[in-house]
């Protein structure tokens, strides 16, 4: 039962090993040189910093991530449906397509609402926060 996950564990181990080795190698070999303070300053094309870098960003990013969550769950629910469609059709259950389409249609109502509210428009004025 769990034997199928052995390659996954091996791949994770190998990837971790390679990544840590590479970064560790340059960490060890890249040391011991002149360390100028200027080099560790925040890079802004050579200009002196005028303000901090932690700023509030546009609420648009939140809207995108929120819409993404909802549609991601939709996809996650459609996945088992999609995979089982072939088997169910072969058994003569033609309605299975309708089940999925109803799901899609209900969500496209939300999609149309988002579109009309301008959730997908980034250039519109006044929608930034």
């Amino acid at each position: 039962m769990s034997a199928q996950y052995i390659p996954v564990i091996l791949a994770f181990g190998f990837a971790g090993l390679v990544a840590v080795t590479l970064v560790g190698l340059s960490w060890m070999l890249g040391r011991g040189k002149l360390r100028a303070v200027r080099k560790t300053e925040t890079y802004e094309s050579g200009m002196p910093l005028l303000d901090g870098s932690r700023k509030r960003v546009s609420v648009k990013f939140f809207v995108v991530a929120m819409v993404f969550i909802v549609f991601d769950v939709e996809v996650a629910f459609l996945l088992p449906w999609a995979v089982s469609v072939r088997e169910l059709l072969a058994e003569g259950n033609k309605l299975v397509i309708v089940d999925g389409l109803v799901f899609l249609v209900l969500l496209s109502v939300g999609y149309v609402y988002l579109w009309r509210e301008g959730a997908f428009d980034w250039s519109r004025r006044g929608s930034e926060s």
Partner: protein, 345 residues
């Protein structure tokens, strides 16, 4: 038990190293290809045709001074490139690179040139683990404590999640036609003739997938993350030496994985229509066919990068949400209807 473990380990190492090897090759192809397209020379000093340039670059990157910005959040700053590279290096284990179901090694059946043949979540594993790559980018942007990094990271991650949806929906169409999550089944279903390839039966899905793949790998025309003219270099402004190289390698690895996935899902994987070979010969030929198809898409990535201008960010988001998402859904509806009517094999 131990022999099986040894074979699996060998497969992991061989496939992973093969994928990693594509990185320097692609770097060379990209630079020479760019030069060719722009009618200039490109790297030509180190070795014949500049072939050793990537090797020298790696050596330089390893010996480069390891600068950590004073303002950075140290732990997360080091974690971010590791996440990016790590995620890029574990996704391809579900892709069948070649046939070979009748071949055995040390008495253990090889079960095809695929690292995890039994994993019963199949391609879903790739999608799920691939969705974690957002963290590498967001964390790189945030932990550098630089406003360009932060904006680049946020932009890039918003782009990734937007196109991930369209990509997954396009994959869903293929999975519907296949009725299985195993990519080897997807390949088997497309064998026989060219018109069985999903690229033919699901043209819209293929187009959506390809465009989304360009966006997912942060390549031009969708490389908004590192739009040099506005964001300096995006989420990895503050990264140098090998930590920068990790992001760089991750990008090229993702490109290779995306090409391999496109070949598997839409271009019949390692099968050659009309040809059926068995044994070791079948394994070698199918792998060669797979690599050849993959090379085409890798070249496409380079070709497009040096031919098309960059999108504007609002255009990018609109293309993703208003263009690709409805198209992918349309493809799903088409597959559903076609299957009910029995038009698809």
């Amino acid at each position: 038990m131990w022999a099986e473990l040894a074979v699996t380990t060998a497969k992991v190492v061989v496939v992973a190293l093969a994928m990693v090897t594509t990185v320097p090759i692609m770097v060379w192809v990209e630079r020479r290809g760019a030069a060719f397209i722009q009618d200039r020379l490109g790297p030509n000093r180190v070795g014949p045709l500049g072939l050793f340039q990537p090797v020298i670059d790696v050596v330089k990157l390893i010996f480069k001074e390891d600068v950590t910005p004073a303002a950075a959040n140290k732990g997360l700053y080091y974690l971010a490139p590791l996440i990016s590279l790590g995620v890029a290096m574990v996704t391809f284990i579900v892709i069948p690179f070649g046939a070979g179901h009748d071949v055995s090694l040390f008495g253990v059946p090889l079960r095809g040139l695929i690292v995890a043949p039994d994993l019963n979540v199949g391609v879903l594993y790739l999608l799920a683990i691939g969705s974690l790559s957002v963290y590498g980018i967001v964390l790189a942007g945030w932990s550098s404590n630089n406003k360009y990094s932060l904006l680049g990271g946020l932009r890039s991650s918003a782009q990734l999640i937007s196109y991930e949806l369209a990509m997954t929906l396009a994959v869903l169409g293929v999975l519907m036609a296949t009725g299985s999550l195993h990519l080897s089944d997807v390949v088997a279903r497309q064998s026989g003739a060219v018109w069985h390839w999903n690229a033919v039966t699901q043209v819209i899905g293929f187009a959506v997938f390809l465009v989304a793949a360009f966006a997912e790998t942060n390549r031009l025309p969708f490389d908004l993350a590192e739009a040099e003219t506005e964001l300096v270099a995006g989420y990895h402004v503050e990264y140098s030496s090998m930590k920068f190289a990790c992001f760089f390698m991750a990008e090229y690895l993702n490109m290779a994985t995306a090409s391999a996935l496109t070949v598997t899902l839409f271009f019949g994987g390692g099968t050659l229509p009309g040809v059926t070979l068995t044994g070791w010969l079948g394994l070698f030929v199918s792998t060669a066919v797979f690599v050849a198809k993959m090379c085409f898409f890798l070249w496409l990535f380079v070709w497009v990068r040096w031919s098309l201008p960059r999108f504007r960010y609002d255009q990018l988001m609109q293309l993703g949400w208003k263009g690709l998402l409805p198209l992918a859904t349309l493809n799903l509806v088409w597959v559903g209807i076609a299957m009910t009517m029995g038009w698809l094999r």
